[in-house]
Symmetry: C2
Subunit: 238 residues, 2 copies
Amino acid sequence: MSRPIAHRALYQEVADRLRRLIYDGDLPLGSWIDEQALTVEFGISRTPLREALKVLHAEGLVQLTPRRGCFVAGELAPGDLDELFPVMALLEGRCAYEAVKKATPVEVRRLEGIHARLEKLASKGDVATYYENNYAFHETIQELAANPWLSRIVSELRRFLKLLRGRQLRVPGRLEASLEEHRKIMGALRRGDAAAAERIMRAHLMSQRAALAVQERGPAPARAAPPAGGKGRRRAAR
Amino acid sequence: MSRPIAHRALYQEVADRLRRLIYDGDLPLGSWIDEQALTVEFGISRTPLREALKVLHAEGLVQLTPRRGCFVAGELAPGDLDELFPVMALLEGRCAYEAVKKATPVEVRRLEGIHARLEKLASKGDVATYYENNYAFHETIQELAANPWLSRIVSELRRFLKLLRGRQLRVPGRLEASLEEHRKIMGALRRGDAAAAERIMRAHLMSQRAALAVQERGPAPARAAPPAGGKGRRRAAR
DNA sequence: ACTCATAATTATGGATTCAGAACCCGGATC
DNA sequence: GATCCGGGTTCTGAATCCATAATTATGAGT
């Protein structure tokens, strides 16, 4: 947001670019990372690149095997989701709670804006943009909670959920259900009911998990190969 | 625990040593980290050291200011504790919940062993060893919960609490109160009451916070200088 | 033709080197 | 006397270099 003085270190820029490459699928999940290829692509030396990889490893986005190289984190297995979502529900629920407690009218209005956009996007059925704004909605609530520690771990875990790239929204009817849950959250926020906001947010996260479960055994995606995503699934977090 | 093949990378060993230096107070909170001095002390080059520092930065234990160097994280301010403990209570509460759900009789017995030791240590008034075992108690519950994601963020936040080095236990009467809370947790565990375990664990964490609050405005420590710990307090988490 | 041993190649981990920014200190100026 | 400027030194950030482990390719032997 501001960088008047003290430009960012190179390894951080590199880490950002690597994250984007992973999220955009340019570095497929589970794939080996060719350091040399990236140094020429980025026009840098291996030193900052390797530092960035250490950071990504600490974040859990890559796996770093001694003397074997660096691999992108693998796809999340259904078991992972069963363990991850309840924790995320707990945390985002708390975010909602603290956000309701602390939010000023101005901030509430900002959230209203995002929510209004979601309403519009849902009626248009624009899943991609809905995903983006939905992301912003949750991030804003996290921001309103204004708890650095909570924010820290929520962001950390969200990094893993981002690997799903909003798959759940593609489940038939999920978009509308998601929106309805958001409406209830906004309602709780407007009347300052922190406990309700927490409860609804938790349920919201858990129904995301449920939507994914439907999809897991659900119909084959329109195009794209069946889950033949490589042979070995790797765990993301150690 | 095991290193039959694939020895650890040097930067990880260095990171471990650095953490210990910080927790042991050999690197005072807020102090500047002299890279060159450490390279000669460790007998290594700057490369793995700097990689380790990147990791510690990702963990929040050090602050990395471009072109200015690396500083150990600062003391936690009271405001930090007010934000941190509720989150920790949430998470450890969830650990207790999942631990009760999943624990096998063998594992319960292991926890019983640790708890029995705590009883003994408390009656002897051995605060230092009590602290160690108390730590093991909480870590074991976290382990029994067997949720990698939960475990990940609990460990992450616990790193910050470790900076307090069990200060709260030195508050008069706190040792006994802590023990009593543990007894209740064990009770809930024995009768398989996950919800109760969660509730009690949350309260346990919050009463730790309260004990610290007493101490904050409490009597001056027996020895050791007043909070003249440098001029500038730095925040630990960004 | 297949397997196993061995040599060549490549990639990783770590050390060293180099450029430039920040700090320190002395001196000049107002 | 305080402040500002300049030169030297130190330290950070990044590039390059080197040793060694891992992988691949090669070839001998069955």
